[in-house]
């Protein structure tokens, strides 16, 4: 039988991870579905489970002058309701899940699940978010974009736990998230888009685009973004076809039951165009 461990606090959780071979479950909204069993039978987990959703130490949202720190076990709803949460992340959470899933799902779970269609990841990669990762005798930080190494592949050792999501405090003049899916929420994205821009006296100071569900990892390219810093808004809008050409080779979607690659590619380009045209 597969064991269930419910640690009393973070220290106990890290000790358990150190001593045993465990899979981590937070809210369970993805893990329970991926390990679904016949009705009435226990969840079909393949290894012993460490439940971390109720760890109080990981339920805090705090800030300092540079960063916002979101505890890894905060529900999506508690992040949505917190006044410190950036608007772009709130927009993303509203579109990514229904109220029931928001009450139990976590952003850390969305990241660790490492789906190319993880909506939360699109916005976190756009915001250059980092993770704080702990083991019993080690603490490290890693960028979300580097932590995710491929489809369902993450850089997490067996004794490590994601403890915080760290978002740099940056303001934008326009930040926008758009999910393309067949339902208001509870649909897995065909394409997800996040864009953000900051001007200083009409000159582009910061320009970011991130696309989800169109490659094995989120599509974000700082070299392309840098090319357009220093342009005026008008110049940027005049360069739309060049921008689309820059992004086009990076958008390599697949055909699956939710959509096809032609649609995904065209919609991705349309979303970039729409974002720039409506600055």
């Amino acid at each position: 039988m597969v064991e269930a461990y419910v640690p009393k606090n973070l220290k106990a959780a890290l000790e358990m991870l150190h001593e045993k071979s465990l899979r981590i479950v937070a809210g369970g909204t993805d893990m329970l579905i991926q390990n679904r069993n016949r009705s009435g039978l226990p969840i079909n987990f393949k290894s012993d489970i460490l439940y971390v959703f109720d760890l109080e130490e990981l339920k805090r949202i705090e800030e300092d002058s540079e960063f916002l720190y979101i505890g890894a076990s905060c529900s999506l709803e508690s992040i949505l309701e917190n006044k410190l949460t950036p608007e772009l992340l709130k927009m993303t959470i509203l579109e990514m899940a229904s109220p029931a899933i928001r009450n139990t799902g976590t952003l850390a779970g969305n990241i660790a699940n490492a789906s190319p269609a993880g909506d939360g990841i699109v916005t976190l990669v756009l915001e250059d978010a980092l993770l704080e990762i702990q083991s019993i005798n080690h603490l490290r930080r890693e960028k979300v974009q580097d932590f995710i190494q491929g489809v369902r592949k993450i850089n997490l050792n067996s004794d490590e736990l994601i403890t915080k999501i760290i978002i740099p405090k940056v303001t934008f003049d326009k930040a926008y998230f758009k999910k393309v899916g067949p339902r208001l929420s509870d649909a897995i994205s065909k394409v997800a888009f996040a864009g953000a821009i900051k001007f200083e006296d009409t000159i582009v100071k910061d320009f970011r685009i991130c696309l989800g569900a169109v490659n094995i990892k989120m599509v974000r390219d700082s070299a392309i973004e840098k090319k357009y810093i220093g342009k005026t808004k008008k110049e940027l809008q005049g360069l739309i076809s060049q921008i689309l050409n820059d992004y086009s080779p990076l958008i390599k979607p697949i055909d699956d039951q939710r959509s096809n690659k032609e649609y995904r590619k065209q919609v991705s380009l349309n979303l970039i165009q729409e974002f720039i045209e409506n600055l």
Binding site: S39, P99, T104
Partner: protein, 157 residues
């Protein structure tokens, strides 16, 4: 196996079971509470919705380990309240019920919404119901029922 305590429909409960079970199965099989239904079993339809510490969750995707020391309210417990009466009458009057399979989940979603926002707009109602599927009514009648419940039950939430 482990012993856990929680509050179910306002009563303390202690059971000795596998914490890797779904809350939905425990409610239906151990407590014979069959109001929460298994529709999709994937968190997409909301037929299994219950309130966990006053907030809507899909009991098909909540492991029992995440219920330790918490309060669960199913439609059976909620049906003992005045607010339920208001919502039930509004659903009946506006034609928000046909086959009834989704209805316990719809009512739980309504309660969770009104508790948070007693006077929702149509758009807010749609967001509040965005995790619940109905294959009979076409939703407009349910939206109208919720508007009516908010009006008739003004002051209860």
């Amino acid at each position: 196996m482990a012993k856990i305590k929680f509050i179910l429909n306002n009563q303390s409960q202690e059971i000795d079971t596998d914490l890797n079970r779904r809350l939905l199965d425990v409610l239906r099989n151990d407590f014979n509470l069959t109001g929460p239904k298994e529709g999709c079993g994937e968190g997409e339809c909301g037929a299994c919705a219950v309130l966990l510490n006053g907030k809507i969750v899909n009991s098909c995707s909540v492991p029992l380990a995440n219920v330790v020391s918490k309060e669960i309210m199913t439609i059976e417990g909620f049906s003992q309240t005045k607010r339920y009466e208001i919502i039930k009458e509004a659903f009946a009057e506006m034609g928000g019920v046909q086959c009834g399979f989704c209805t316990p989940g719809m009512i739980i979603a309504t309660e969770s919404l009104l508790r948070h926002n007693p006077h929702p707009t149509i758009e807010e109602i749609k967001i509040g119901l965005s995790g619940n599927l109905c294959r009979c009514t076409g939703y407009n009648l349910i939206v109208k029922a919720i508007q009516q419940a908010a009006k008739k039950g003004d002051g209860l939430w």
